[in-house]
Point group: C2
Chain length 410, copies 2
Amino acid sequence: MRSVAEFTRMWADLAPVGRTASSGGYRRFAWTREDHDLREWFAAECARRGLDVVTDRVGNQWAWWGDPDAARHAGRPGVVTGSHLDSVPDGGAFDGPLGVVSALAALDGLRARGHEPSRPIGIVNFVDEEGARFGVACAGSRILTGVLDPDRARGLIDDEGRTMASAMTVAGHDPAHLGRDDEVLARIGAFIELHVEQGRHLVDVGAAIGVGSDIWPHGRWRIDLPGEANHAGTTALEDRLDAMLGVAAVTIAARRAAQEHGCVSTVGKVQLTPNGVNAIPSHAAAWLDVRSADAGAVRTTVAEVTEVAEEFGGRVREESWTPTTAFHPVLVERLAAGLGGVPVLGTGAGHDAGILATHGIPAAMLFVRNPTGVSHSPEEFAEEADCLLGVGALVAVLADLTSDPTDETP
Amino acid sequence: MRSVAEFTRMWADLAPVGRTASSGGYRRFAWTREDHDLREWFAAECARRGLDVVTDRVGNQWAWWGDPDAARHAGRPGVVTGSHLDSVPDGGAFDGPLGVVSALAALDGLRARGHEPSRPIGIVNFVDEEGARFGVACAGSRILTGVLDPDRARGLIDDEGRTMASAMTVAGHDPAHLGRDDEVLARIGAFIELHVEQGRHLVDVGAAIGVGSDIWPHGRWRIDLPGEANHAGTTALEDRLDAMLGVAAVTIAARRAAQEHGCVSTVGKVQLTPNGVNAIPSHAAAWLDVRSADAGAVRTTVAEVTEVAEEFGGRVREESWTPTTAFHPVLVERLAAGLGGVPVLGTGAGHDAGILATHGIPAAMLFVRNPTGVSHSPEEFAEEADCLLGVGALVAVLADLTSDPTDETP
């Protein structure tokens, strides 16, 4: 089968890009050299299939089989699939790339079976999904849909002090025209994102493929804790204001509250100032991530952490908040039924599909079984057989959604 | 008085070098551009006084008034004063530079009063005293005295992954010949280091100047805590191994144990991997600094912290340990008496004077009052009047130690 061979070849192509020898994981951050190489690769794969790539004003890459503008003017906007190619620090090979590679392989599969789509099929590579560099996840789809203000986006700063605007400019992308782009959005009649599962639901129920029903409410908070710079060896304990003690208390409070209220919470990023062995920390920033199926539980957890932070003179600011995102119920049901009644599951992870769904575009996700549930890690994994079942499922879904010329939805 | 004008001029010269606008503190790390500028400045100040600068194999800079080799062969090795010019991250202006500038101003003062030294007087700028870049404090004097192994020193790695050997090479210094240097050490008959006080003892007793009696036992430990990389949003709490929870526990244990046992302890530096907002930390390194007048109390504190670290699967390694360092008792008494009975005090901070004392060189320190006790901070301060009293004290001490040609000691 051509799609199988192509899947394997593409997967091998991507394996070395941005891989770090020390961890075996990936560092593919938006608007870097690695990202550039991945974008070139995407354009080349599309060209290989006779598809032009159009980069929108934000930097997301779109390739269309069929004319999306003619179709949408005819009231039949296209069906888009794809995902992203960037990664978290020391991330795995699957989160993102599996959806992009599967989209390209599914196109091969559709063509191999002689499918003539009744509406255009698009493949997308969303830029900066992980937010690993500038701290805002799904930046590409958030800017596209107007959820993330262009000025705020341009001014976001990475750990080296470079703004997103500057990073885009260095990468050859003009940041002047960021903003909601209704032209691009109008072309999308439905969006299907295939993704490796980031938990163990499919393993537990013994299924290779599942359909996503919703994304849990989730948010990120930045906690700033004050300290007073001083010598670690000569300052009496009672004279100290040590910002690290606040970080410790907040970390323990976050775990305890999450346990109590049925959330998951993480303090995954900490920055101490000056971060010197013999200097009392004069400032600390810690980032808190909390998610749950129940938004109220998240709010309660954050409130309890805030209370502890304030006991240490700290301040908690919400950096992002996403309420429950339900995928399109009709589409979800159609996918699950069309795939022979595969499991339907929610997820704690955010995705571009969620951003588009919130914007009102019919969207759904396909999940591919992850034998350990591990993700955002070099250990992230899916069996090749399951990945190929994922491609097959995507072929079936795309064929279903582009077969009936009278079909009004998804 | 020429020494006053010179002090003020030199202090103003140094004020902008390595100053960071954001904190108002200094970042003067060994073998950087800033360090290079400071070393050039030191050489120029010595040249201005007709003194040649000799850089030893490690990189410490020495300027001699008189011929140190002729003198030592005659059994009358010189009296050296000075300190260092590097800083901790966001350090203050005084820690280090006050000793160097005072040394130069004291030389001016001695000459202005027509002093003819009975033995050579040396001024030293020790390299890399703070260990801010490579993690080992007093690297310049430790390598000089053979306490720090040359191979270990060359292989020390900074936060950017550069070795000390490479950093030296980039700075134009050949790292091939590091190691104990008896030629250089034999020239030092006595070492007097002037330093801003890093506590509030002198304020409390109402004295501008004090003499150091000893340095508390102190050490640094690196604590490595394991974790498992995983997605912050999708991994159940019970499936997590989160390295940050270990850091929090260790931080709290370190403070609690220090309080109980009468030490000061600090977790001032933390490195999370991958340090991403939505990634569970897969590894953490935390550095612990513990000091006390009582070495047993330090050991007990570290043992209790180690127990907690091990509960989290962590490992604690000693990076450095310095037992109580007593300065030369005769010299200490002579200085205190010669200055009219100024207070004698111990300190929790390490100094090059302590390294030389441990090596058997008669050494002592002069402390200048610090109105807040704050150091290793942009807020570190000493009144100019007190600094000038410090220069005066150093003039008196140097004059005393180099006046009597029959004087066998210090």
